[in-house]
């Protein structure tokens, strides 16, 4: 490393520690001031899981309201707040947090480093994100503000202008929404910079770029993508606040401003954001599928190239969210074709995972079950994505429940399934104990059934013309039974998630001892004790191939003989 270090006098603290008034307080204080990547990773994870439950509860409230026609469970105002908060929570407080939970915890361990490149920036980023989330939820109390109006944000998570103008959204709810996203945006930017610097500058000896585990590669690509897609959102939010507080006219159509430009700015962020969320999930699959197939990943360089390819293509597809606003046919054709182009690198990935499974000695442990479900569901999500990329098809189904079904297939069917897989896979490393396989199987099957009952059915109400964002519907539309089925599926998913939460708590105390390497895996994090000591590695590791632990376990047949 080129950074110079100063000679530090008395680096070793030899004074006896003060007697603390309270052990608990001391322990809590330790978590608040920590700069350790593992503790911060755990805090990110806890945060994501808490908000997963909150966002899930909001989804359940939405589904109770829609289970029957003309239902009065939620008022229209509260319904709008619920789906706005559900979307914002799931994308920013769950999705972005899980990325950095795993990224923080695993990237330094996987590349043989002591910590992240900037530990204090890391802590700063976490607390920015954490307080951004609190700011968003504070709107439930503070949104009433001085005007006695508002409550939680109710402008949908894409917040189209001019609904967000002061005249149409009085009170402070929309401001809490914008400010919370700006604050979280800075936290995200800091974390992304940190992961890029860590990956490039702290790799242990022999960990060349093409020896890095695929999860590290995907976190690296994701962080690069974050640099250029979260920042446009920050810029757009600043413009929104200028409009709302300083009387600017960016999105004020009566003064010549444009509502369309907000759509462009939002989706320039919003579409790549989906890839920001899904790429780390691809990383999980790329780590878990080989280990449970007992084979090295198929086509490693192609996987790396496809990841970078997806990131590039994702930057040029945003206006497929806007086919119905009336673009030129050239615009429609461009965005339809660029969207379909995404299918090529993702297809490469799907085939590589299948080829990894092919001929493998597959172990159907819970992490692997979730990953296999992911493969099927992600394929279907991709297929409906290509359907929606066809502009005339989109004109028919835009803003219908077909679209909702499509993106929940990606966000839940692909991303959440892989997050669950990753939690089951790395929980032993983090806590030293295995998650219960029995509870895990219950969780998997209930969640799988609930997922398909809900989201498969949602495609059909979409075909039958049910639009999104409506708080109720007439009984004569023919949507009644399907909506009830969707809601029941939602409850099954809710029960499954509660089993998962119980499993996390139960196994913390009663789980089977894991040991260093319960899955017989190959990446560096499994070479250290579980949970890893604060210093990670007692001696700096040296690697010779993509599977350093395989080389150690099989000295007669090491990987580096075959890798280029």
């Amino acid at each position: 490393m080129g950074v110079q270090t100063l000679p530090i006098d008395a680096a070793l603290d030899v004074t006896t520690p003060r007697r603390s008034p309270s052990q608990l307080l001391e322990w809590l204080h330790g978590w608040v001031v920590t700069v350790d990547h593992k503790q911060l990773g755990l805090m990110y994870m806890l945060y994501a899981i808490v908000f997963l439950l909150v966002g899930g509860a909001e989804a359940i409230a939405i589904r109770i309201q829609l289970a029957f026609p003309n239902n009065l469970f939620l008022s229209p105002e509260v319904y709008n707040e619920m789906f706005t908060m559900h979307g914002t929570t799931m994308v920013f407080l769950v999705g972005m947090m899980y990325i950095f939970a795993f990224g923080n915890y695993l990237v330094p361990l996987m590349i043989g480093a002591r910590d992240m490149a900037f530990p204090r920036l890391n802590a700063f980023s976490f607390w920015m994100s954490a307080f951004g989330g609190l700011l968003l939820y504070y709107s439930f109390i503070g949104g009433f503000g001085l005007y006695g109006m508002g409550g939680a944000p109710d402008v949908t998570w894409w917040a189209y202008a001019p609904l967000t103008a002061k005249a149409f959204s009085p009170g402070h709810a929309t401001d809490y929404w914008a400010l919370a996203l700006i604050v979280m945006g800075f936290g995200t930017l800091g974390s992304a910079i940190n992961i890029i610097a860590t990956t490039l500058c702290l790799r242990c000896r022999g960990m060349t770029l093409l020896h890095m585990p695929l999860f590290v590669w995907l976190m690296f690509v994701t962080s690069g993508l974050i640099l250029i897609v979260i920042t446009p959102l920050t810029a757009a939010q600043i413009m929104l606040l200028i409009d709302r507080y300083l009387g600017g006219h960016f999105f004020d159509t009566q003064a010549g401003g444009s509502a369309t430009i907000w759509m462009h700015f939002f989706w320039i962020f919003g579409h790549p954001e989906v890839y920001v969320l899904v790429l780390p999930a691809f990383g999980f699959a790329s780590e878990i599928i080989p280990v449970f197939s007992r084979k090295a990943i198929f086509g490693y360089p192609a996987m790396v190239a496809a990841s970078v390819g997806i990131a590039f293509v994702s930057l040029g597809v945003w206006a497929h969210h806007m086919f119905t606003i009336g673009m030129t046919s050239v615009g429609n054709a461009f965005f339809a074709l660029s969207t379909m182009l995404v299918g090529i690198p993702t297809g490469i990935k799907i085939f590589n995972w299948l080829a990894t499974l092919w001929g493998g000695k597959i172990r159907f442990a819970t992490p692997m079950l979730f990953c296999i479900a992911f493969l099927f569901q992600f394929l279907i999500a991709g297929l409906t994505g290509i359907m929606l990329a066809v502009a005339p098809w989109d004109w028919q189904l835009h803003n219908s429940y077909f679209v909702i079904a499509h993106f929940h297939y990606v966000l839940v069917g692909a991303i959440v399934f892989n997050i669950f897989a990753a939690v089951y896979y790395w929980y032993p490393k983090v806590t030293g104990r295995m998650l219960s396989e029995t509870l895990g199987k219950w969780h998997f099957w209930l969640f799988l059934i609930g997922f398909h009952v809900t989201f498969d059915t949602m495609h059909f109400v979409g075909f039958l013309g049910m639009p999104r964002s409506i708080y109720t519907y007439m009984p004569d539309r023919g949507w009644n039974t399907l909506n009830l089925i969707i809601s029941l599926g939602g409850f099954v998913q809710g029960i499954a998630v509660l089993i998962f939460a119980w499993n996390l708590i139960y196994s913390w105390f009663r789980g089977k001892e894991a040991g260093n390497d319960p899955w017989d895996a190959w990446t560096l994090e499994w070479s250290v004790p579980s949970p890893p000591p604060p210093y990670n590695f007692a001696t700096d590791p040296v690697v010779y191939s993509r599977r350093p632990l395989w080389d150690i376990k099989h000295p007669d047949d090491p990987d580096w003989k075959y890798e280029a």
Binding site: L6, L227, D556
Partner: protein, 196 residues
Amino acid sequence: MSAMPISRFAEPWVLPSRGRVAMLSLIIGESAIFTIFVVAYIYYIGRSLSPPAPAQVLDVPVLNTICLLSSSVTIWLAERQIERGKIKTFAVWWAFTIALGLIFIGGTAIEWHKLIVVDELTIRTNLFGTTFYSLVGLHATHVIVGLIGLSLILLFTLTGHVNERHAERIQVFALYWHFVDAVWVVVFTVVYIIGR
């Protein structure tokens, strides 16, 4: 461990500097923010529904631009001095950089004062006002942040806390200043040449 590839041990293991990587990443992120504001500015050129128009009120800030761009040269000279351990000449060039930055900010203040008081153009007057103050203000904010950083380093230098071991950190900070100057080239072109 039979035959490890010994040759790889012999190779020196060189990794990029984390400071430079992080600063370049920050610059990429900041560029995206500026891009959005520049796109909004260009999109709204000539769409204001009420006066004043840019051509009526804007003067091309030639002196400001010369000062800010030449500050990139002076900071580069300072970077070279600190590498060689010449702290005094470093401090001189560094102080020059701050002075040039201050002239730029002062010039902007005078320009804004004239626009607000004489021409009665504020951020809420029309679309031009909104986009102009946002974009130029965003850049000016970056200049001010840069000036605070530059002044802190000057303070540390004058109190004797800076030596050639800090050359790299100072060069990393200078990257940010070069970025702020480069952005001005874009802002200047868009606001004072294309938009006027």
